[in-house]
């Protein structure tokens, strides 16, 4: 099928139409789960996916296939000499991203059909609303991907912020969900405001927000020096907020309050991917200069290590995955920072698939446990890994797909994750070889790789291996064990997406050779038709000599296997005990997430409260006190001088005051006569004034 503007428009607007239908029609009339409601959303994502499959994928290897829609960019906001032009653009990056976004979103939609049916044993009352939000989310992401300009990109960006707020707070009866939604919204807002400032800088200096024009403007030196650094840092700050990088990462783990498919959507296909996408695009158009890139690399590398270390001690299955996402995003940022654009996007793609698989797998587990616990009237936490164990036999399909995805995220060979992670690590190693002073960047990456393998396998062992409920604590432990024995595999509506996503977590789709980057690198590193020639220099480095690749492979696989081995010794064979570590100071620090959440709570939430209290008290004490004191002073002074001033007061002052009062009263009485309340009287005066004015003016101009 021809890659035409109409096709793109349908791809873009189908989810929006689905959203509108759901919100305006279905939501009003259909309460509770009706698959009919979900079908609209499934169509809204399925149609784009199908169109992408038949219309975009066949054009994947045409390097210059750039399409502008409309042919002449639409002048959207026209302010006379200034105008914002908007349009859609398809280049190689967009093509692969479109495929990923539509496919993953479709799988998540499908999964949700079953997953969202029940809430606490009752039919979900806001079933269609949920799907409406999902569709809007998808629309926002597609808009962001297809935008050829930073303005509509920003609109999609903000729409996603809104959707994340709505979806994280979907169970809005829960206080924790409300808080998490607000936290996510406000934290990302910090980044967004900075991003907006960055956009303003770009617009003010380049005069356009369309990517090709920005790229040309940067080439031509319309923005350079510290201003360029500043713009880059502001733009990166937006990505930091959206992609949950240190120090704005705290919202993402809390976002687990939303339904699990939402987590999958946020973590895999949409929200956090947007940040990396933006950073990669900025790298492409040259808005990140050397200084910014260094900041990006360090923030990314540090986040990768930092988040991985927190994930070591989490017990909530979704939180472990959440921190793993933060860590993996750190990898991507690291890749952007060392200029390895291809690897960043490659990891973004593979990560989307295996992370969606992991989240949906955990969702499948949670769903099954929830059902089992509900049947036994237990109030145990269905997300706590200590309440799991031994699910391997009970849920074989979920286990299998989950295991594949875990291998992928750990970077074990024969998986997609291995390919992409290897690319990133090789890039960072090559960078370090060039700039030995930045050795830490590579160290961050490799240590985080080992940690990733460790905590992911810890998760797998706790959840699927061992005896059912072996780690359960508390009074209900026995009942939990009983309930676990009755857990059943989820229905096909949930397992089919898992299988599809697990397939994409294998190496075979990405590259036939299990240790080379494959076609995706070719597609992504191909010259984008719209970029000016010189902009491709960013691609130049990031691919060291071949020996780097070999070393990376040996090192990363070794470290990953080490992580798996250690995890197995700790949790599978129980050769080593975690007792001592768990009681140590370091574990406590990790469990407190390095105290960052507490710090933010103290620094921003608590202090804002305190500030308002202080200002209230200041008003009450100081200002009121000053006023009252002055009054006391005056009164006191008056008392003390009464005997002197008495006479003067009585005759002179009182006389004057009373005289003025009398005069005013007389005047008031006089003017009061004018205030008749008769409208027409007033109007007469008005018109007389008009006449007088007319005469005055004509006299003045004579």
């Amino acid at each position: 099928m021809e890659l035409s503007g109409t096709l793109l428009a349908i791809v873009l607007f189908a989810p929006l139409v689905a959203f509108l239908i759901q919100i305006l029609l279905v939501g009003r009339w259909v309460r509770g789960p009706r698959v009919a409601g979900a079908v609209v959303s499934l169509l809204g994502v399925g149609v784009p996916f199908f169109l992408v499959l038949v219309g975009v994928v066949p054009h994947l290897f045409e390097p210059t296939a750039v399409l502008w829609v409309p042919q002449a960019p639409l002048r959207w906001i026209d302010l006379g000499p200034l105008s914002f032009q908007v349009g859609l653009m398809v280049d190689n990056t967009t093509k692969v991203l479109l495929f990923m976004v539509t496919l993953v979103c479709l799988m998540i939609h499908l999964f949700s059909v079953e997953y969202m049916k029940v809430r606490d044993g009752e039919p979900e009352p806001y079933y269609s609303r949920f799907f409406a939000y999902l569709s809007l989310f998808t629309f926002a992401m597609i808009l962001l991907t297809l935008s050829d300009n930073l303005l509509t990109l920003f609109i999609g960006w903000e729409l996603m912020g809104l959707c994340s707020y709505l979806l994280i707070g979907f169970y809005y009866e829960r206080k924790s969900a409300q808080d998490a939604a607000i936290k996510a919204f406000l934290t990302t807002r910090v980044g967004d405001v900075l991003l907006l400032i960055g956009l303003a800088i770009v617009w003010a200096s380049v005069g356009s927000l369309r990517l090709p024009e920005v790229a040309q403007g940067v080439q031509a030196g319309a923005i350079k020096g510290w201003l360029l650094t500043l713009a880059g840092l502001f733009l990166f700050a937006g990505a930091v907020g959206k992609s949950a990088q240190f120090p704005l990462h705290t919202w993402l783990p809390d976002a687990m309050e939303g339904p699990t498919p939402v987590s999958a959507l946020i973590h895999a296909a949409t929200m956090v991917a947007a940040g990396v996408y933006l950073a990669a695009r900025m790298l492409q158009v040259g808005l990140f200069d050397e200084r910014t890139l260094l900041v990006v690399a360090y923030v990314g590398g540090f986040t990768a290590l930092f988040a991985a270390s927190i994930a070591l001690v989490q017990t909530d299955i979704k939180r472990v995955l959440a921190y793993s996402t933060v860590s993996q995003l750190g990898y991507m940022m690291l890749a952007v920072g060392v200029g390895n654009y291809t690897a960043a996007l490659f990891h973004l793609l593979t990560h989307a698939f295996f992370k969606a698989c992991l989240f949906l797998g955990s969702g499948s587990v949670i769903h099954a446990l929830h059902e089992a616990f509900h049947r036994h009237h237990l109030h145990a936490d269905a997300q706590d890994m200590r309440n799991m164990g031994g699910l391997r036999r009970r849920m074989p399909l979920t286990f299998g797909t989950f295991l594949i995805a875990t291998l992928a995220i750990s970077g074990i060979p024969l998986t997609a994750g291995f390919l992409s992670k290897d690319a990133i690590l090789a890039g960072s190693l090559a960078y370090v070889l060039e700039h030995p002073q930045h050795l830490m960047l590579a160290v961050f990456g490799f240590i985080a790789a080992a940690m990733t393998a460790f905590y992911m396998f810890r998760l797998v062992f706790w959840t699927f291996a061992g005896t059912p409920g072996g780690r359960a604590l508390g009074p209900e432990a026995d009942a939990v064990r009983g309930a676990l024995a009755e857990v059943r595999e989820s229905s096909w509506v949930m397992t089919v997406p898992l299988a599809v996503l697990a397939f994409f977590a294998l190496w075979i789709f990405w590259s036939l050779h299990p240790a080379s980057e494959g076609w995706i690198a070719e597609v992504l590193s191909g010259a984008e038709g719209w970029l000016p020639e010189a902009a491709h220099r960013a691609e130049a480095h990031g691919h060291g000599p071949a020996s780097v690749h070999l070393w990376t492979m040996v090192l990363s696989v070794g470290l990953a296997l080490l992580g798996v081995l250690v995890a197995a010794l700790f949790y599978l064979y129980r050769r080593w005990s975690t007792e001592r570590f768990a009681q140590g100071q370091f574990a406590r620090v990790l469990e407190a997430k390095y105290g960052l959440d507490a710090l933010y709570d103290w620094a921003f939430v608590r202090n804002a409260h305190r500030l308002s209290q202080w200002s209230g008290r200041f008003d009450l004490r100081v200002i009121d006190g000053a006023v009252n004191g002055l009054a006391y002073l005056v009164v006191g002074a008056r008392h003390s001088f009464t005997w002197v001033t008495g006479a003067i007061d009585r005759y002179v002052v009182d006389g004057a005051v009373n005289g003025v009062a009398w005069l005013l009263r007389q005047l008031g009485a006089g003017f009061r006569q004018l205030q008749t309340g008769y409208i027409q009287g007033y109007l007469l005066v008005v018109f007389s004034g008009l006449v007088a004015l007319a005469f005055l003016i004509s006299a003045a101009f004579r």
Binding site: E2, S4, G5, T6, L7, A9, I21, L25, V26, R28, W29, V30, R31, R34, V40, P70, Q71, L74
Partner: protein, 304 residues
């Protein structure tokens, strides 16, 4: 004096509308740049005549009839205007003659068949126009079972005849305008087949529409006042607005040259709309009639 003058105003306004209808090709009548706009303006004058008649009759029934007529005509002017606006958007002109030129070249060029929003608009226009001219089933202002004969209760002789003539003139003219706007005016249904002169085609179409109006009168009972108003404000107005929006979007898309090419056949936005809009309407219908509005919990008693 108002009593005497009213029938002439009503009749005069009705006939004046005829000046915007072009009955044949390159006629001087109806070749006026503001024609459609003028039609809306003049047709709103009828209200004043009716109020004048009802008030000046100094009779309770007449006044009731006049007020009903005024409310009805003023209300239905809005969907009527929106329907005409859709035509203006699609053809890019207010000149009725040019509107007809735009529909030349066979039945598939007639505006009613050009795209789905115009199709809906045609019906919107026709029904609103029936209400506008106070025909059954919207003949509340002269409902003989309730208010004798409405605003012309007290009239007789030639003045009554003027009112009556105004009504029938209105029918014909409204049908003629519908023909002009949606059914291709004087142009024949098959291109290049000029069997009949334009005037005859025009008259045929107009008479057909008038016939449908009469048919409706024989068939349908009168609606209630609240039904009448609900139909206008709750259904026609939103539908009309959606029509305007949809047509605007389609025109924009056409300007941008949007289209799908499938096997050598190029399908423009209008063609796509012919597929998409009926599907959406059908979906809407399915939801409206299958689920239907769920019973809502009783509203909390309002505080006094």
């Amino acid at each position: 004096m108002l009593f005497r003058f009213a029938p002439y105003l009503v009749f005069g306004a009705s006939v004046a509308v005829a000046s915007v209808v072009p009955p044949f090709r390159s006629s001087l009548i109806g070749n006026y740049d503001l024609g459609l706009f003028l039609y809306l303006a003049i047709s709103s004058l009828v209200v004043l005549g009716i109020i004048m008649a009802g008030w000046a009759s100094n009779s309770k029934y007449s006044l009731f009839g006049a007020m009903r007529a005024a409310a009805q005509i003023v209300s239905y002017e809005i969907p009527l205007g929106l329907a005409v606006l859709v035509v203006v958007l699609a053809t890019g002109t207010l000149n009725p003659q040019r509107v007809v030129y735009d529909q030349a070249g066979g039945v598939h060029h007639w505006l009613i068949f050009r795209q789905p929003f115009l199709f809906i608009s045609a019906f919107l226009y026709y029904i609103s126009a029936i209400a506008e001219v106070n025909r059954t089933p919207f003949d509340l202002p002269e409902a003989e079972s309730e208010i004798v004969a409405g605003f012309h209760t007290e009239y007789s002789g030639i003045r009554f005849a003027y009112f009556f003539m105004a009504e029938y003139t209105n029918m014909v003219i409204v049908s003629a305008i519908a023909t002009t706007l949606f059914l291709g005016g004087w142009s024949g249904p098959i291109p290049g087949w000029d069997l009949l002169p334009g005037v005859v085609w025009f008259a045929l179409k107009t008479v057909l529409l008038v016939f449908v109006m009469m048919w409706l009168r024989w068939t349908l009972p009168r609606v209630r006042v609240d039904q009448l108003m609900a139909l206008c404000w709750k259904y026609f107005l939103p539908i009309g607005l959606v029509n305007v929006l949809g047509t605007g979007i389609l025109e924009l898309l056409a300007q941008e040259g949007v289209g799908l090419t499938i096997g050598g056949w190029r399908i423009g936005p209008n063609g796509i709309a012919w597929v998409v809009v009926p599907v959406l309407v059908a979906l809407l219908g399915v939801y409206a009639f299958s689920g239907g509005p769920q019973p809502r919990p009783a509203a909390a008693p309002r505080r006094p």
